[in-house]
Symmetry: C2
Subunit: 131 residues, 2 copies
């Protein structure tokens, strides 16, 4: 009865994505964004080079991949390892925190993939009910 908010099971956590100004919401967006989620998912299988990532994350442009990797590196989820060779070789891999986040993300991804038949059926029904 000390708290006016009864929503959370863990009301003592200092960060709350449901609050507009909380930095955790920003990080969640980096993680779940269109390219962030796929990039983390791809890297969970092992370290990859820039163009390997580009091929794995089908449809991403150089610009967006670069931007996404910078954001994830800044948040300490991805580590960038550049070797001063010629031609240059740069490997990207998950940090320990990145691995934890990516593991949860992959569970979500696999859950969605595994339920797509239901989702597609629901869409068909929804669209039919409107026509």
């Amino acid at each position: 009865m000390s708290d006016t908010q009864e929503h959370r099971e863990e009301p003592d956590l200092p960060y709350d994505v449901f609050a507009k100004a909380c930095p955790s919401r920003c990080t969640l967006e980096n993680v779940t964004g269109r390219w962030g989620a796929l990039t983390l998912g791809a890297l969970h299988e092992g370290s990859l080079r820039f163009n390997e990532l580009r091929r794995r994350v089908d449809g991403v442009s150089e610009k967006m991949l670069s931007q996404t990797l910078h954001a994830l590196e800044r948040d300490g989820l991805v580590h960038r390892e550049a070797q001063p060779t010629n031609p240059p070789r740069v490997d990207y891999e998950l940090t320990p925190v990145g691995r934890e986040v990516a593991a949860r993300l992959l569970e979500l991804i696999h859950c969605v993939e595994g339920r797509m038949d239901d989702v597609l059926a629901a869409r068909t029904a929804y669209d039919a009910h409107r026509a």
Copy 2:
């Protein structure tokens, strides 16, 4: 050796978010999008009315909440229950599939919230290294 792609642990799944044209990528975006993730997270705690949701998902506009709810309903993740009273009362709740997805989503959210101290420290270090 029947498959040229060695990335997935479950190569037989018919849906793959890493493929550009796969409908699962679209659904994943509805689920992990800026407002979709928070809406599903909020509804995991129980059914909510439109304006209750609006207050819980801090910062969302009427328009975006409406749009988000329609997309989630179409994908069969959210059920809309309208009561023909006056004033109108509409409750939104997760479907069984929606609950499964939201559960994974909340694990991800809690993971991110729980690691924010590391994330913020990484950001500070990253930014300092650039100044």
